[in-house]
Amino acid sequence: MSTDILPGVVAVVLVSLATLAIGTFGLRISRTTSDFLVASRTVRPRLNASAIGGEYLSAASFLGVAGLLLTFGAEMLWYPVGWTAGYLVLLVLVAAPLRRSGAYTLPDFAEARLGSAGVRRLCSVLVVAIGWLYLLPQFQGAGVTLRATIDAPPWAGSLVVALVVLASVSPGGMRSITFVQAFQYWLKLTALLIPVFVLLAVWMSDGAADPAAASPPSWSIPIASPGGGIGLYTTYSLIIATFLGTMGLPHVVVRFYTNPDGRAARRTTLAVLMLLGVFYVLPPVYGALGRIYAPRLIENGSDVLVLELPSLMVGGVLGAVLTGLVTAGAFAAFLSTSSGLTIAVAGVLSQDVTGRRWGTRRLGGVAAFRVAAVIAVVVPLLMSLPAQDVAVARTVGLAFAVTASTFAPLLMLGIWWRGLTPTGAVAGLLVGGLGSGAAVAWTLGTSASSGWAAALLGQPAAWSVPASFLTMVVISRLTAATVPAHAGRFMVRLHTPEAVDLQR
């Protein structure tokens, strides 16, 4: 064991221990099923916003964005911008009504709104599929991080993350994980912020070289390469996927049910916008400084830019401390996003699979949740072991395209349009899910190629989202006789402020 791996080892151990300690603290106050799934709906906006921020800023945000900015430049700024703007869209279209619907999970919402068990089952399948598609890059990113910082074999990082997530999620559920994730947001912010000050000071004392001078002109233009019509299409498709995809992410949606009421749900969302805005100013600094100080990472290995830049720019003890800090932040990113996704997937699995009667036995609520959590972690862990080479931010971006083409239309039409029917919803979910899913499978399965076909499949949201919307509306119109009888009453529940005394 050499000394330059020491900061990484210390960081990983400390973050894991802190996570487990805070999770155990939450265990003392978690008792009921409602505690496990929605923290008994008592989380105040400020704590809740930190927890959402902690859970949302994944490996893709912490490592991936800076690396993509280093290699491709301004066009990649659309990722953090879209991931933040997605919360504004969520705020104005779904935040308060979603909370007022009173459901536990996305499938619960679909069933309550449309009164159909079929829609519920389809939503459950989609939540689990999207959750696993999103967990996969988290586990892989953990492998990359441990390999870069402490030379561990790639499977080691995935395994450590999986074990810590299970250990912190299954005892205390949502209630304890809320504190863990709030802590992890502030840890991640600190881990990027403090090194930025040091690195900028070093850059100034070195004469403040211009990063743009060392880059091709396209580095300053926020349109996807190769520019022209294809570049414009790719950019707008990414904008659609990220702006609309956020509202359908299962681990984000489940957090909204932990707010006390609709008004608090809105205030939480505004606080999240602020927290994300503060965080996302930082990765571009790493990307720009990397152009000057880490040119060898531009072509390959850009995912480790954030981890290696401090030691490349600052030597000695300070460099080692900063490396330890960013490693801790990266590890917190894997842990928090993975635990949020595990809760969301396990919540659905425990209601629809493990909580059912199997033969003569039936598990209780909490036991069913724990079994479901194990399933939710083990499957993507096994999937991540053979494929270690998929780019982190790319896979996460594809998950956004799938949610934007499935849950976004379901939520928007379900909340604002009485005419949605169960048949229309199923048809739209299938068209959007199969369309974007096929594009994702093709993109993950083939190596990069260029041209219109690759652009249309690599960034499917611009056609799959309208297709899904259109299908839902047209099929609902054709089956207008089956509009649920309680649709009007449900609208009252979704949209009227809690201050008005109504039968809900």
Binding site: T84, P222, G277, T496
Partner: protein
């Protein structure tokens, strides 16, 4: 054998609660009457129009950036201090703009909800 114990009448609190006085507008909505329907439709339309306005502001600013850089490629050379224009707009200025839009939205939407609550509570008593 001694005298039988005198009979005692056992009573509980009255089963029927006194009618809670609820605003007439709320009763109209609960009864899904034509008037209640009018209330709900106006609330929904108002909230949706507000949401669409915020989204329009978002699309007309952020959404036009790629098009602007596509139509005027020379924007890529513009510098503001040490930063290229594209990096400044997307990397820094976007975030305060998003927070401002969100803040304005929350102010307006809570006004709307307060107006709605006032409307359904001051409605004059409808003849039964």
């Amino acid at each position: 054998m001694s005298d039988p114990l005198p009979r005692v009448r056992v009573t509980g609190p009255p089963r029927r609660r006194a009618d809670v006085v609820r605003p007439a507008g709320a009763r109209e909505i609960d009864a899904e009457s034509a008037l209640g329907e009018v209330f709900m439709r106006s609330l929904l339309r108002e909230q949706l129009v507000l949401a669409l306005r915020v989204l329009a502001a978002l699309v007309l600013t952020l959404g036009l950036l790629p098009l602007a850089f596509h139509l005027f490629p020379s924007l890529g050379d513009v510098r503001v201090g040490p930063l290229p224009l594209g990096w400044l707009l997307l990397g820094v200025l976007t975030y305060p703009w998003l927070v401002l839009l969100g803040w304005l939205y929350i102010r307006r939407v809570e006004d709307n909800e307060r107006d709605f609550a006032d409307l359904v509570s001051v409605l004059p008593e409808a003849p039964e």
